[in-house]
Amino acid sequence: MNVPEHLRYTSDHEWARGDSDGVRIGITDYAQDSLGDVVFVQLPTPGRRVTAGESIAEVESTKSVSDIYAPIDGIVSEVNQELTDAPQRLNEDPYGEGWLCVIAPDGDSPLAPLMDADSYRGLIEG
């Protein structure tokens, strides 16, 4: 499974990356492989205030539905509208075009509590 070095991870198999406009999040390669073909994504509404651990989205595959949890506290500033018509981007490019949303974080170092690539690799290979 592909686990890029430069990203941070959660135990719910999401990734997060600090960009200039906020923290971009998505699901990991491991998550998309476990889900199978994604057929529908319910995105959060931009402007919504979210708390770490809160369910903010749903990703639905031919076999199941999974909740997506906010990895950090903040405000949803942008969502990937392309997923509405092309949810398969989550399978094809989970770390790129399959990103889910951007959260404007509350704190200064929002990614600090998240796992680094080594720890996440340990989790999925454990």
């Binding site: 199978g36 073909d37 057929v39 529908f40």
Partner: protein, 357 residues
Amino acid sequence: MSAGAETLRLSPLDAAHRALGAKMVPFGGWEMPLSYPKGTIAEHMSCRSGAAAFDVSHLGTVRVQGPGALSTLQSAFTNDLGKISPGRAQYTHLLDDADGSVLDDIIVWWVSDERFDVMPNASNTTRVRAAVGGADVTAERAVIALAGPSARVKLAGVAPAAAAVGRFRVETFIWRGATCLAAGTGYTGEDGVECAVPSGIAREFWDAVVDTGFTPAGLGARDTLRLEAALPLHGHELGPGITPLQAGLGWVVAWDKPDGFPGRAALEREREAGPRRRLAGIVSDGRQPPRAGAEVLAGGSSIGEVTSGNFSPVLGRGIGLALLEGTHPPGTAVEVDVRGRRIPATVSALPFVDKKL
């Protein structure tokens, strides 16, 4: 259908699936392929436009034979074997005598005069044996379902006699010295052939089929295909409390068989009163699937429940089968309560995808 801690049965093709990189899941007491690396949607589309191969060895085979076999089956199941003859297959039901509920839906392969191979659902084999006796020969064979518009052409290169079997016909064929059975039956809405081959040559047969260009397809695609074709799945559209009449399968019931069948009295009462609910199709306005258990509403009031739902790769929308009370013709606007959100949908004619077989 999770089997919990019990030991799962393995198909004679288990190693072949693992070699192909299949995701294996528990299903009806068996461990079977859910999908291969191409994924469920690609497998589905291969079956709709080309040819797909499914391992369905988890279906039971109960062999009922001898001079009393015909009358045993005639008095146990709803359909009338008098409408067919040896060398043909028939879809039929086993009902609960008390209320006409469908205990199992079954395909009977009438192999020869006094031999019937009865094929129940994986988890219902014991129940069907209790009704008709016979020998459980499930472990002796693999069943490989080949389906799709080019399935017969491709199969002709592997087993020409099997490829030539007619719709709902059953024929013996010899493959590399082994006696096998081919039936023109399936569960995808596509034309195709199901082959029962002895376990000892199952791997060889499967490999030959895959090498000739059939796309291996798992239970995931089997489910989305049968849903588009509006074919019922026991435990969803059929089961406790659900009769053949509610499921829209009245044609499976031979009312006038001389000896009747268990459940006939209950079913006659329902026919006179009219079924309180009927199976209908639901198409989401968007991609989101209605899911089993979701409530269906019209004008804000509950009218029934979704029995199966998923994404239709052909339509590009969510589709579902639902048991609805009252009259709701195709085109009726409804809502489906999916985990607390009401999504707009429309009642649809069935099947959702019709290949006019």
